[in-house]
C-alpha cells in the first residue's frame, strides 16, 4: 500500500531533522528549521492515520500542532533577533557564555 510510503517519508523527515540538528549545531536558524521539519513529520503521520482509520480527530490535532509550531517559531525568531542585537551573531557558541 502506498500509505506505507508516506509513513516512510515521515520517518525520513524525522531522521533528516535529527541529523540536521547534529550537523548544524552552530547554526540556530537551521536547528529551528529542523524542529519545523519534525512538526511536519508529526502532522503527516496524524493525517495518514486519520485517513486510514476514517477518523477526523487526527486532522483536528494537526490544527493544534500547526498553531503550536507557529507560536514556537514566533518566539524563537524574536529571541534570535534579541541575540543578534546582543552578540551580532546567532552562533550557538556564543551562548556558552551563560555557563559562566
Amino acid at each position: 500500500m502506498d500509505w506505507i510510503l508516506i509513513i516512510v517519508v515521515s520517518v525520513l523527515f524525522v531522521i533528516t531533522a535529527c541529523v540536521g540538528m547534529i550537523i548544524n549545531q552552530r547554526n540556530l536558524i537551521v536547528m529551528l528549521l529542523c524542529a519545523e521539519l519534525l512538526f511536519l513529520a508529526a502532522n503527516l503521520n496524524f493525517i495518514v492515520f486519520s485517513r486510514l482509520h476514517q477518523d477526523f480527530h487526527g486532522q483536528v490535532m494537526v490544527i493544534f500542532v500547526l498553531a503550536a509550531a507557529a507560536a514556537e517559531s514566533a518566539i524563537a525568531l524574536a529571541l534570535f533577533v534579541l541575540m543578534y542585537r546582543q552578540y551580532h551573531s546567532v552562533d550557538t557558541k556564543l551562548l556558552s557564555n551563560i555557563r559562566g
Binding site: 525520513l12 514566533a74 525568531l77 524574536a78
Partner: protein
C-alpha cells in the same frame, strides 16, 4: 500511469528538499528548501483528502510563518559563519546515502519485483469524489466537539505575538527628546520667557 508515478515522484521530491535543507550552505537556501517541503506536503494532504489543512498549510504556514523566517534570515547577517557549519564531504555523502539513496533504491527494487502500490488518488475518487462530506464532518468536530480547545488555541496564538513584540521592543534611548503633555499643560508664562536686562548684562 502518470497518477501511479506521481506519488513516488512527489515523495522523492520531499526527501530531496529535506536533504537540501540540512545540507545547504546558506540559511536562506535552507528556508527555501523547507518551503518546498511544505508545498509538497500540502499536495500530499490534498491527495489524502485533508484539503482544508492543505490550504491552511499553504496560506498560514508557507505564506506567513516561513515568509517571516525568510525575511528574518535575510535581515540578519548569518552568512558569515555559513562556511563553518559545513561538514566534510564524506559525511555529506553518507547523509544523502542514508536519507535519500537507500530509501529510493529500496522502493524501486520493491516495485520492480512486483509490489504494485495502489494509487491514493484513485482511492480518494471512489470513496469521496467531489463530495464535501469529509469537510462537514471535520467542521463539526472542530467547531462543536473541540470548540473550547479552539478558543484556547486562538489565545495561545495571541500570547506569543504579544510576547515576541515585547521581547524585540527597544526601550526609550537616554538622549531621546520626548514630548510630555502633562509638563506642557502645567507650565506658566514666566517659565517660558525670561526677561534679561541687556544694559545690566552688558555693563558687567
Amino acid at each position: 500511469m502518470i497518477l501511479t508515478w506521481f506519488l513516488p515522484l512527489l515523495l522523492l521530491l520531499l526527501a530531496f528538499f529535506a536533504n537540501m535543507m540540512i545540507l545547504a550552505s546558506h540559511p536562506v537556501r535552507s528556508v527555501l528548501a523547507l518551503m518546498g517541503c511544505f508545498l509538497g506536503t500540502s499536495i500530499l494532504w490534498l491527495m489524502m483528502g485533508a484539503d482544508f489543512l492543505a490550504f491552511v498549510l499553504i496560506f498560514v504556514y508557507v505564506g506567513a510563518v516561513m515568509t517571516l523566517f525568510l525575511f528574518m534570515v535575510m535581515m540578519l547577517n548569518v552568512s558569515r559563519y555559513a562556511d563553518d557549519a559545513l561538514i566534510s564531504r564524506f559525511y555529506r555523502c553518507l547523509i544523502v546515502l542514508v536519507t535519500f539513496v537507500v530509501p529510493v533504491t529500496g522502493y524501486l527494487c520493491l516495485r520492480l519485483y512486483g509490489m504494485q502500490p495502489v494509487s491514493l488518488i484513485s482511492v480518494m475518487r471512489t470513496e469521496w469524489g467531489l463530495s464535501t462530506a469529509h469537510l462537514v464532518e471535520f467542521s463539526r468536530l472542530l467547531y462543536q466537539t473541540y470548540w473550547m480547545p479552539l478558543q484556547l488555541l486562538a489565545f495561545i496564538l495571541m500570547v506569543p505575538m504579544v510576547v515576541a513584540t515585547g521581547i524585540v521592543r527597544r526601550g526609550v534611548p537616554v538622549d531621546a527628546k520626548l514630548q510630555s503633555r502633562s509638563k506642557q499643560v502645567g507650565t506658566h508664562a514666566k517659565d517660558r520667557l525670561t526677561l534679561v536686562n541687556a544694559k545690566k548684562t552688558g555693563s558687567r
